[in-house]
């Protein structure tokens, strides 16, 4: 390999066909550390004509008799490649023991085209410099490099996280891998599952539970009875607002029914109440003198009762229990309307904030799949700021990073990004400041389950990874096929 040129923090390196170099490889040139973000053919004058001439007669119609000593060299010049590597920093010696450390940035450039030796850095050495260990029993991924190395996420470095990528690129799979690791480390994760992707995580196959079953609970609205790991999701009536109830029961704002609901909630403010209490209120003609309104409200109460969504809830106890042991509460939001989704999420967030403020829980992880479907942007910022202080660590999982407010990216601790093709989506990622646009361009070339991870979990060094499959767990959601 030879150094060709340098521009800003970009290095161009020429290498021959028999030298192996991959996207994501880290190369070391004396003390400078750079990462390969693009590989092209070396641009040689005359190469187009050289290739056009070869194309005159198809290869299938060509036979050759080349002298053996020439054969291995013919074609090698046209196959020379150029790698673009981003300078990430340099290796410095620290302390009297000459320990080596990695420092970002370079302030002097003393490399020589003729003399500087370029080599692919061993991943062990890189990890050591970055202070990352990888000798864990079940690694999360392996590095996408010439010498692949297992990588384990340091879970204590998870803060505000984004996992993003095109549909089908593997982001939910990665999120589930992280979730299962968090369970093993006795962390509770609340998951807002809008697509029903997490519902089978407690199963080994479709008929058998796995080792995680005792720790995973799937909370599904509108069901009556528990089955396996699935529990009814029920919200106490007194923990939502009259407006939420009115919206969910299609009571237009301002009409007499709405007014009465407002009245009831005001009357019972600060107390525990349920649908029986509301029904009693409605039936009392001194509260609701108009018969038509009374009938309408009675109908709403019966609807609410039939939905099974409102009633006494044991969610607080469940949170405390799983917070102790570690586990996951999967909120199955795939079968509910958008209003119900919002009610459920806001209820849960209020609950978590309260438990955190009163120090009944230390910390929980919160997975928000496609948060824009049920959280207002203002509330997302609230999750980022206020809720962090009460021990809620959010991970936003989305197909489209543009649906997240810019504040998410500016406050981000970690980003795990799968493949993208769209220019706008790639630009959004660069707003995090964790990664440059040239590096995000590599995302166009990633295959399924390949990603770029950067942040505190990688000591701020962009790592290209391939997620290792999980065994013993049904990772897919419940989906129906159009064609059987």
């Amino acid at each position: 390999m030879y150094l060709l040129s340098k521009q800003a923090d970009d290095l161009w390196v020429v290498f021959s066909p028999d030298e192996k170099l991959k996207l994501g490889d880290t190369i070391k040139i004396e003390d400078i550390v750079a990462q390969v973000v693009e590989i092209q053919f070396a641009d040689l004058p005359g190469v187009l004509q050289h290739i056009l001439r070869k194309s005159l007669i198809p290869v299938s119609d060509t036979t050759e008799q080349i002298q053996p000593e020439v054969k291995s060299i013919i074609g090698s010049l046209a196959d020379q490649k150029v790698a673009l590597a981003k300078i990430r920093g340099r290796i410095v010696e620290t302390g009297g023991n000459k320990n080596r450390a990695f420092k970002t940035g370079i302030s002097e450039f003393t490399l020589s085209r003729a003399k500087s030796k370029i080599e692919v850095m061993d991943e062990n050495e890189l990890f050591q410099l970055l202070g990352m260990s990888s000798d864990q029993p079940s690694p999360f991924a392996q590095t996408l490099s010439t010498s692949a190395k297992p990588y384990t996420i340091p879970l204590d470095q998870l803060g505000i996280n984004v996992i993003t990528g095109m549909k089908g690129s593997g982001k939910s799979y990665a999120a589930k891998r992280i979730l299962l690791e968090l369970i093993k480390h006795h962390v509770l994760t609340i998951v807002f599952d809008v697509n029903g992707e997490y519902l089978n995580l407690w199963k080994k196959d479709l008929n058998q539970p796995n080792e995680f079953m005792p720790y995973i609970k799937v909370l599904t609205p509108h069901i009556r009875n528990a089955q396996g790991a699935e529990l009814p999701l029920v919200i106490p009536l007194n923990e939502i607002s009259y407006d939420d109830f009115a919206q969910s029961m299609s009571v237009p704002e301002g009409n007499p029914s709405y007014q009465h609901l407002m009245q009831f909630w005001k009357q019972w403010s600060g107390k525990q109440f349920d649908l029986n209490d509301l029904e009693a209120y409605v039936k009392d003609t001194s509260n609701v003198p108009n018969e038509a309104v009374r009938i309408a409200l009675q109908g709403r109460v019966e609807s609410a009762r039939a939905s099974g969504l409102f009633g006494p809830s044991s969610i607080t106890d469940l949170i405390k229990q799983l917070h102790e042991s570690g586990g996951a509460m999967i909120y199955n939001l795939s079968t509910v309307s958008s209003w119900e989704r919002r009610i459920i999420v806001e209820f849960t967030l209020r609950k978590l904030a309260h438990l955190g403020q009163t120090k009944l829980i230390r910390a929980v992880s919160l997975f928000l799949e496609e948060a824009q479907l049920y959280v207002e942007p203002a509330n997302m910022i609230n999750i980022l700021t206020r809720m962090r202080h009460v021990g809620v660590f959010p991970t936003f999982i989305t197909n489209d990073p543009r649906t997240l407010p810019d504040e998410v990216f500016t406050l981000l601790d970690n980003m795990i990004t799968f493949g993208f093709r769209n220019e706008d989506e790639l630009k959004q990622l660069a707003k995090s400041g964790l990664v440059d646009t040239l590096t995000t361009d590599v995302l166009r070339n990633l295959e399924t389950r390949q990603c770029l991870a950067i942040g505190r979990i990688t000591s701020n060094y962009p790592l290209f990874l391939e997620i290792i499959p999980q065994s013993g767990v049904v990772m897919g959601g419940e989906s129906r096929k159009l064609v059987p």
Binding site: L44, L56, I57, I66, Q67
Partner: protein
């Protein structure tokens, strides 16, 4: 594929030992490097008596759809100089058009050859014997400045003989002429190629872009006979107008233009072709592309010349194979007159 082992063995010779090597300049802005064939088949000028009328006849181009057409060309290039010699590369192409109108390519080489004043005779004699089956006359050893073209010509004649032997009912196009009695082209060998072709019902057509045949009255090349004349047409038979050393010319000679505005070429066709010369010329006209040159011969030429990129690769191969030590070219004038 043709077995070229006898030729390759002769070319390979002995490995050099750590000689200093000054590579030829390669200009990557010139994608392909042409090398002139300096062995003119008729090196000396020969007079053609043109006192009688030489009739111009029209050609009716007829694409030989149902025939095989084979074209052969070879090239040689100096890769760089070593003390008392040079290292060169050779390559030959054989293009065959099938009745299905498909083109097939056989590539022979690149072959490396290292020639010095010490081994020039050995290489020449070994190669001559491999091709012609005979020892060359000792009085006529080629000089170092001519040896590359001699070697290229020997390779080309070898392949021409092999093609004449293996082909049947094929139009065989050669770059050059059918001339004998010079060291590089003994007439006996050219005669053997012609006879072997005829034996296998092949039709040989040799096409030259230049010639040493000069018209007596105008002192101009015979190609000028078609100056200002719209093709396709031809003038023949030129050979009957040659008086000196007519026996050197082993085929009838024509000047032809194969397309209306094409270039004139000298065409040599042996007497004993299975097809009439007029039909053959019509067939070659049917194969002509731009500038009036037969497409198969054009492809053979295009696929055998070296690209600038290949020359750099071959220089590297030569250095590796012969353990050469690279030496940059020194511009003596620059040294003496630096400003």
């Amino acid at each position: 594929m043709i077995n070229t082992d006898p030729v390759v063995t002769a070319l390979r010779g002995e490995t050099l030992k750590s000689e200093r090597f000054r590579p030829s300049q390669v200009d990557l802005s010139q994608p392909f490097v042409e090398s002139e064939k300096s062995i003119a088949d008729d090196r000396d000028e020969t007079t053609v008596h043109d006192e009688g009328r030489m009739e111009t006849a029209r050609l009716t181009p007829k694409f030989p759809a149902e025939s095989n057409v084979t074209a052969i060309d070879a090239t040689g290039l100096v890769l760089g100089v070593i003390p008392d010699g040079f290292v060169a590369a050779l390559r030959a192409s054989i293009i065959t058009k099938t009745p299905e109108n498909k083109h097939m390519l056989e590539h022979y080489g690149p072959y490396l050859v290292a020639v010095t004043t010490t081994n020039i005779d050995v290489i020449y004699q070994t190669l001559y014997r491999a091709v012609y089956g005979d020892t060359p006359p000792s009085s006529q050893s080629p000089k170092l400045e001519n040896i590359l073209d001699t070697v290229r010509n020997l390779l080309e004649r070898y392949l021409q003989m092999q093609v004449a032997t293996r082909s049947n009912r094929t139009i065989i196009l050669l770059d050059g002429s059918l001339i004998g009695i010079i060291v590089a082209n003994p007439s006996s060998y050219v005669r053997r190629i012609i006879d072997k072709s005829a034996e296998n019902q092949n039709s040989l057509v040799a096409i030259s872009k230049t010639t040493g045949l000069i018209l007596e009255r105008s002192h101009r090349s015979i190609l000028s006979l078609l100056e200002g004349v719209l093709g396709p047409c031809y003038v023949g038979d030129i050979r009957s107008h040659i008086q000196q050393q007519r026996e050197r010319y082993l085929g009838d000679i024509y000047v032809a233009k194969f397309t209306p505005l094409g270039e004139p070429f000298r065409i040599d066709i042996p007497e004993n072709t299975p097809t009439s010369h007029a039909d053959l010329l019509n067939a070659v006209a049917g194969l002509a592309g731009d500038y009036g040159y037969p497409e198969e011969l054009r492809l053979a030429h295009m696929t055998c010349v070296f690209s600038a990129i290949e020359i750099l690769e071959l220089q590297a191969a030569a250095v590796a194979f012969h353990n050469l030590v690279m030496e940059e070219e020194v511009d003596v004038r620059q040294k003496i007159f630096p400003f």
